[in-house]
């Protein structure tokens, strides 16, 4: 297995290039979720980029769809489509629009409106149970997204149907567009909330692929209930001046910032190697 940690900084460079190129995107959330997606697509999920519609594939729903640049970059690096396609993200008539679309190989469902993914993934996990199929279903949710009531409807249903083939990941970076999640709408006792709804709760260091990998392995052993991994992440992870910074939710780097960010990502990649 190649050095995944180093790879995550190459993926971040693709994200940075994409956002600078199309002059739009959600770089903070992209960088916080990169390691979660990389761990899923490079280590955990049973997927074949050459056969993206394989009925037995594992499924992943990016419920926090605004982190689409991270998803596109991970899929391109994993071989679902050429990395050169990233240059067309959000371009005129491009299929690579600013939120996940199932017109792109490797993407299961259209998303972008928050609060849908968990319920959709419940449906997918139910289908697997009905078909006695062995695939697993993953859904990545933002912590700000937890304010959407529909998430809690999905949470009830996942536990009610004992979907142990379902694993949710909360990208717990603690920030959203207006400030900290705790100021905007607090999520105190988040573990207890999920646990009281009937979910097995695991914590992971959300920007550490080894920690995430271990958490996903543990989730596979949990029977009779779904698992949630609370991934404690840093928004903007990988570039110091973007980390834990509210404005970098969706700011586009200037030419100067681009150079600095590229240098930092390169240094982090070297350190990981």
């Amino acid at each position: 297995m190649e050095n995944l940690k180093a790879r995550t900084f190459e993926i971040r460079q693709d994200i940075l290039d994409t956002i600078v190129n199309c002059k739009a995107g959600h770089i903070g959330g992209d960088f916080s979720v990169t390691d979660i997606l990389a761990t899923l697509y490079f280590k955990q999920m049973n997927i074949d980029p050459q056969n993206p519609r394989d009925p037995n594939r594992d499924r992943m729903i990016l419920s926090k769809g605004h982190s689409v640049e991270a998803l596109y970059s991970v899929l391109a690096n994993r071989g679902f489509f050429p990395r050169a396609d990233l240059k067309t993200v959000s371009a005129y008539c491009s299929k690579y629009i600013g939120h996940p679309t199932n017109k792109v190989a490797g993407i299961e469902m259209n998303s972008g409106s928050l609060g849908h993914g968990l319920s959709v993934s419940v449906g997918m996990a139910l289908a697997a149970k009905m078909d006695k199929a062995s695939y697993r279903v993953y859904v990545v949710i933002g912590d700000g997204e937890l304010a959407e009531g529909s998430v809690w409807e999905g949470m009830m249903a996942g536990a009610h149907y004992k979907l142990d083939n379902l694993c949710a990941v909360v990208d717990r970076n603690g920030l959203q567009i207006s400030g900290t999640t705790e100021d905007v709408m607090s999520h105190e006792n988040l573990d207890e909330r999920w646990a009281s709804f009937g979910w097995h709760v695991i914590h992971a260091v959300g920007n550490d692929t080894d920690s995430l990998d271990a958490a996903f392995e543990t989730a596979k052993t949990v029977k009779g209930m779904p698992t949630v991994i609370i991934a404690d992440t840093i928004k903007g992870y990988g570039v110091s001046f973007m980390e834990n910074s509210v404005p970098w939710h969706h700011k586009v780097p200037s030419a100067d910032e681009y150079i600095k960010a590229t240098a930092e990502l390169s240094a982090r990649r070297s350190a990981a190697l």
Binding site: P55, R59, N102, E108, M109, N110, S111, G112, S113, G115, H116, S119, V120, S121, V122, G123, M124, A125, L126, A127, A128, M130, D131, G149, S150, E153, G154, M156, A157, H160
Partner: protein, 310 residues
């Protein structure tokens, strides 16, 4: 007097088809009784999903099931399905193009005196305005059966509204002319046209008989396929008859009348009158009383036709 309501027919079709098609899944939101799907749930427990009272959840779960190859039928009160879960219908069903059929039960003013919370007099406007969402209002039990059998053959999103009460037969066991997405000609005529859907087809048919006795030939189109609208039939009506009356259990804005008017206005300007529900909460009453109060009746159709024809 027919006592079999359209929702019962939906149950019967699904119970039968699910015996051989293991991909059929029916979902209810604590609504299996009111949807007449208790039998289905009993016969096919492995192809039935209960979500509790959670209309957003039910539509997203259905979309997830459908994305994994299931043919999903969500049965929930039309009032909630068409508004509470509108965004899930838009994003997870229509936009993601999943094989989910949304069945709005107790549609229109079926719930009578229960108030505006329980009326779905704007479902054409809400769900019909969503790209890639089809809208069907079957009239009687025979047409409901034919529609269901056709919908089982495709894998695209659709919304189907049925009322709560049995509707008198328009068609019969051995005579149910049905072509998918084509209006059914219920009564031939060359003087004036009535376009109706759902429970309004019956008064339209009665009005045509009444007008016939006065020597007026009234065409009646059962426009069960509200979207895609059978524009060919509308154009012919505009060309061949002197005026069009649309009667619908829906408000004026964004309803069948507005769709017909828009098309006729652009393609063959002809007078179009819309008999519909008002832009305000409707009165308390059983649905026939509500229809009578607002003129959604055969008598008012006759009166309107006579006025239009001078």
């Amino acid at each position: 007097m027919n006592t079999i309501h359209n929702r019962q027919v939906i149950n019967d079709v699904l119970v039968e088809k699910a015996k051989t098609d293991k991909d059929i899944v029916v979902l209810c939101s604590d609504s299996r009784g009111s949807a007449s799907l208790s039998e289905y749930a009993k016969v096919h427990p492995d192809q039935f999903v209960e979500t509790g009272i959670a209309e957003q959840n039910i539509v997203s779960i259905a979309a997830g099931l459908a994305a994994c190859g299931k043919k999903c039928f969500v049965a929930s009160p039309a009032c909630f399905l068409s508004t509470r879960s509108m965004e899930q219908a838009k994003v997870d069903v229509a936009y993601s193009n999943t094989n989910v059929k949304l069945i709005g039960i107790s549609g229109g003013v079926s719930y009578g005196a229960l108030g505006m919370t329980h009326h779905s007099t704007n479902d054409i406007a809400t769900l019909g305005s969503i790209p890639n969402m089809r809208i069907y209002f079957p009239s009687d039990r025979h047409q409901t059966k034919a529609l269901m059998e056709n919908l089982l053959q495709d894998n695209r999103p659709a919304y189907i509204r049925v009322g709560r009460n049995p509707v008198e037969d328009i068609y019969s066991e051995d005579n149910t002319p049905f072509v998918m997405d084509k209006a059914t000609l219920v009564h031939e005529g060359s003087d004036i046209t009535i376009i109706a859907a759902g429970e309004m087809v019956l008064p339209a048919q009665q009005a045509a008989f009444s007008l016939e006795s006065r020597g007026i030939k009234c065409r009646v189109l059962d426009m069960y396929c509200i979207k895609p609208l059978d524009t060919q039939a509308v154009l012919k009506a505009a060309e061949e008859t002197k005026a069009i009356i649309v009667i619908e259990e829906h408000v004026a804005i964004g309803g069948l009348g507005s769709m017909v008017s828009q098309f006729v206005c652009a393609n063959h300007p002809t007078k179009v009158i819309s008999l519909c529900l008002p832009d305000e909460p409707v009165i308390a009453g059983k649905s026939p009383e509500v229809f009578a109060y607002y003129g959604l009746t055969a008598d008012n159709l006759v009166k309107t036709a006579l006025e239009l024809l001078g």
